[in-house]
Symmetry: C2
């Protein structure tokens, strides 16, 4: 990401870029960065942003400069890249399985303070064994499921036992617990109720550990939709939001940000208007991803900034079908549109280049 | 694609590969290749396979060696790569818009017999202008919509007029017409009816051209689901299937192939079994794509070869949720599973490496 493209000059105008092109409005991105950094600072929350959204060492460095304690990644390949941002701490928020990956991870370990989140003893034993071979120490967060039903053991005795077992393994040090409240998707009354339940659950988890005499340095939670309510979950002292750096239509739908906070858009060109009431743009599932819009019964794949009433309803690999019957303007072949994607993390993953733009000029790539 | 990976040795066993890994069973791929080549030969159909499925010059060369007249691509970047397979003919089955892309395409033109499919005069004029600047000649197929409602003008006067206008432009030569019968998705009675309508429509289109005194050298259609019925569409003399080289669950669902004809699978590792009746595998929307299964009301993201009764029902970016309550076997953390993706073209697009395997060994990468 942010690699120099073959067809890019430093003083290029956005209008000169080929489409489809993933653009980041740097002013908006910087505002997102500052807002979340200030929020974390004000509420005394450690910020360890998840870099799977941008996969860029340049952006990782900006996050660290704005006050992040460290960075988070989801896989070994991301850890190998993100070490380039020189994070003082790196969290791998994913159970790493298999000798080959673990050995690669152990080469990253000496360059930062490495922590791995995991939810089972098999994984912890493999990690300890790899750490022993590499003669490094690794921190561990015991992962607990607080409602998403993905990874993480159940709260209660199971979690405490996992934590105790981890801490007994050589070369591993239990630093705390981690969870991902991905089941909280909205900022409405339902979201509020879910947050209150979560807060009560975390309290009871912390009481379990207190009874067991185990000190948890880190209680790590946080996602983008519920980001600005993280301080309401009592006991949490670290957040790991990812999407906030760019935001997307799903964040807008969740109430986690406004349309004006979306830094990322995909610029596409109208390539056919052969069918009345419809236009085809030069991007489909290989450009936007097939991720549908959350919290909506309508199937749409992004919002056109130039025509919010248009409906991006269908995709093939390289074709986007936009229903323009309700649009307030006409489009011609060759016109360019800017589409805010539903899910920016997977869209970024599909692009070789990400163009940072400010006032119509390409500033960073 | 098929690039040498950092962690790959030539004599590697499949069991030594890191996951997630996209594997191609070379025996199955070769059988798919031969079967379609033989079908095209037997029915006197030119075969110009779409390479967007594999994006590999190695596979493109195999297609040419098996008797393909040329290759098809969807974009300029693909044309630049696929010229490496030295195709005698290259079809860009996509309207190319914008000077920068057209100039890049004109650099490809001298290396092959280049043809572009397009559906509007603006695009044809831009193409003619680029060809004039580059002093090359370019063939054109006039694109007609036969029911999908994507690109292509309507059959009748509009199509004939487009063809006439194209042929009048300097440096362009009208070679024929192209269409994509993507609306035919099944091999059942509905599919049969759709094919009959399509055949009648093509007949009427050809009659229009005959009346206008225009000779069409190429009548190009064909997709993977209806592939083996292409000869039933009277007048068609070229097919451009793409997915057939690997096949996927959507092809299986369409009746276009059997499960045993699926050459591609994604090998993943079980990383968590924390939730009863469910396992998490180390691949999600960044590995499989979010493409759902066509022609099915159930939301699933691929079929596990090791447990066909398991339901791959949900994904996040790096997590796959597999419901194993109906599975006939148990899974442990560290177990590997092989998943046939719903839509192989977008899955291939997500992977840095594609591993060709035969009898458990990695033969080509």
């Amino acid at each position: 990401m942010w690699r120099t493209s073959h067809y890019y000059r430093r003083d290029m105008l956005v209008s000169e870029l080929e489409t489809p092109a993933l653009l980041i409005d740097l002013n908006v991105m910087e505002a997102n960065l500052s807002r979340v950094a200030a929020y974390a600072r004000n509420h005394d929350l450690r910020l360890r942003p998840h870099t799977k959204t941008h996969k860029s060492t340049a952006v990782g460095k900006l996050q660290l400069a704005s006050g992040a304690a460290g960075l988070t990644v989801a896989k070994v390949g991301e850890a190998e890249v993100m070490i380039g941002a020189q994070p003082p701490e790196l969290l791998v928020a994913y159970p790493v399985i298999g000798r080959s990956k673990l050995d690669r991870l152990m080469e990253v370990a000496p360059k930062t303070k490495l922590t791995v989140a995991l939810d089972n003893l098999f994984c912890a034993q493999q990690l300890a064994e790899a750490a022993r071979r590499a003669r490094v120490d690794v921190g561990v967060l015991a992962e607990v499921d607080v409602g998403l039903g993905r990874v993480g053991v159940q709260p209660g005795e199971q979690l405490v036992q996992l934590a105790i077992s981890i801490d007994r393994l050589p070369r591993l040090k239990l630093e705390g617990i981690a969870f991902y409240p991905g089941h909280i998707k909205s900022n409405d009354e339902q979201g509020e109720r879910d947050l209150k339940s979560l807060s009560a659950l975390v309290q009871s988890i912390l009481a379990d550990f207190k009874r067991a005499g185990i000190e948890l340095k880190i209680v790590s939670g946080g996602s983008t939709p519920a980001l600005f309510h993280s301080h309401e979950v009592e006991g949490v002292n670290e957040i790991r939001p990812g999407t906030y750096i760019y935001n997307d239509m799903n964040t807008v739908m969740s109430g986690g940000c406004g349309l004006e906070d979306c830094a990322a858009s995909i610029m596409a060109t109208v390539v056919s208007t052969a069918k009345t009431g419809q236009m085809i743009i030069d991007g489909g599932s290989k450009t936007f991803s097939s991720d549908r819009l959350n919290l909506s019964s309508e199937v749409t794949f992004g919002r056109l900034k130039e025509a919010p009433e248009a409906q991006f309803t269908k995709m093939n690999e390289e074709h986007g079908y936009v229903d323009i019957r309700r649009a307030q303007r006409e489009f011609q072949i060759g016109d360019r549109v800017n589409v805010i994607p539903n899910h920016v993390c997977v869209a970024v993953n599909l692009h070789e280049n990400v163009y940072g733009v400010r006032n119509g000029e390409v500033e960073q790539v």
